[in-house]
């Protein structure tokens, strides 16, 4: 289950400031060391602070990337097991919550079989949505707004 989450996190990071940071890092760094040395001591603290912040940011973008590569080659067996557990738990949770809601609606409203039937079907849909979301097939909840225009009704 790690690879998918990491990949997703990685995607978040890369789609955000990560790519820009990584691209602009190289030229900036070489450009900055030159002036920093020439301009004298009063610029140095600021420069150092700036560079430290940039180093932290680029480390942050790199850190999730490291384990992803390692995780993939470590053992296909474990990764598969984790993936299976994750996806099945997502799906079962969707169906179970749907059934529970339906049962509760029936219990309170006295609409005996219908609440269970309808909410079980909805829960099935939610389970499929959960699985597709955690497998990275459809956009994540947070990213939905941006991806919506291109994907549109596919997501349902």
């Amino acid at each position: 289950m790690l690879p998918a989450t990491l990949k997703r996190m990685d995607g978040h990071v890369l789609s955000g400031q990560g790519v820009a940071m990584a691209d602009s890092k190289r030229p900036d760094e070489t450009g900055k060391t030159g002036p920093g040395d020439q301009d004298g001591p009063e610029f140095r603290d600021d420069d150092l602070e700036h560079r430290r912040r940039r180093l932290e940011a680029s480390l942050a973008t790199r850190r999730p990337g490291g384990p992803t590569a390692k995780e993939g080659e470590r053992s296909g067996n474990l990764a598969g097991f984790g993936q299976a557990l994750k996806l099945s738990s997502e799906f079962i949770a969707g169906v179970a919550v749907g059934a529970l809601l339906g049962w509760m609606v029936d219990h309170w409203a006295g609409t005996s079989p219908w609440g269970l039937i309808i909410f079980l079907l909805l829960g099935f849909g939610a389970g499929v949505l959960n699985v597709m979301r955690s497998a990275g097939v459809v956009a994540d909840a947070g990213l939905r707004a941006q991806d919506k225009r291109s994907k549109g009704p596919d997501e349902t």
């Binding site: 289950m1 790690l2 989450t5 996190m9 978040h12 990071v13 942050a60 850190r63 999730p64 474990l78 984790g82 557990l85 994750k86 738990s89 997502e90 079962i92 949770a93 969707g94 179970a96 919550v97 749907g98 809601l101 909410f119 909805l122 829960g123 849909g125 939610a126 389970g127 949505l129 959960n130 979301r133 994540d140 909840a141 947070g142 939905r144 707004a145 919506k148 225009r149 549109g152 009704p153 997501e155 349902t156």
Partner: protein
């Protein structure tokens, strides 16, 4: 029965307490929860008490765990999410230490009981819901209404989104619980094969090498799973908190 792989999960009452008809006994589960908190707290407190500028080994372990959780939270929920750092860090340390304590023979694994993991994930989702409504008011409900969906489909999609949201605590808790339970049962079953096989004389002892090897391998795997599940729990917590901070749009 000595060879019962489920026996390790039995709850035994150590100090029976009954208040108003409720059974509030101090069980082995409670004892190991207290031990988990005590170990995690004592470790962090003692290792950081020297406050060396150049950290020693133990101090750098606690600093690494801080950095690890902090960067995870910052990546998933942005700098705004750092207000939840104590919460996420406590959750991570609790699950991590509880998983690792459970790896010792004869020790009880707190996280192998679904009620414990479910309580933890309810805490997470409760935080998300309460904070989301406090911060955004009814705007938090936009989380459930995706944009660009045809108007006819909106009620259906909202229902599915709501159920999907409500299923989060369940899947979060089931994942941690199932991993710990399955791992410990597998370990116990394979270890049981060793003793069972070695009862059949020389051939049995020779054959018992295979499950013994498996036991060692699964123990190594369990160490990995213990760390991984704590990590996954914390990452998902961060992602759900991100929904509370920025509900979709």
């Amino acid at each position: 029965m000595a060879n019962d792989p489920i026996h390790q999960f039995h709850i035994t009452k150590w100090i029976p307490i009954e208040v108003g008809g409720y059974d509030l006994s101090f069980t082995n589960s409670s004892a190991f929860m207290v031990a988990t908190v005590a170990i995690a707290g004592a470790f962090l407190f003692l290792t950081t008490s020297s406050r060396g500028l150049i950290p020693g080994r133990l101090q750098s372990i606690s600093e690494m765990s801080y950095e690890f959780v902090a960067s995870m939270l910052r990546d998933a929920a942005g700098t705004q999410g750092m207000r939840f750092f104590p919460f996420v860090f406590s959750l991570f340390m609790f699950v991590f230490v509880a998983n690792f304590i459970g790896l010792f023979p004869y020790f009880f694994t707190v996280t192998s009981h679904i009620i414990v993991t479910f309580a933890l994930s309810l805490l997470v989702i409760g935080t998300v819901i309460v904070y989301g409504f406090l911060k955004h008011g009814l705007g938090f409900l936009r989380l459930f209404v995706p944009q660009g969906v045809p108007a006819i489909l909106v009620p259906l999609v909202v229902m599915i989104e709501v159920i999907s949201f409500l299923s989060r605590p369940l899947s979060l808790s089931v994942r941690l619980f199932a991993n710990m339970l399955a791992g410990h049962i597998t370990l116990k079953v394979f270890a049981g094969f060793v003793t069972a096989l070695s009862a059949y004389g020389a051939v049995g002892v020779a054959g018992a090498v295979l499950p013994l090897f498996m036991t060692v391998a699964i123990t190594a795997l369990e160490v990995l799973v213990a760390a991984l599940q704590a990590y996954v729990f914390a990452v998902l917590t961060c992602m759900y908190l991100n929904d509370a901070l920025h509900p979709g749009h």
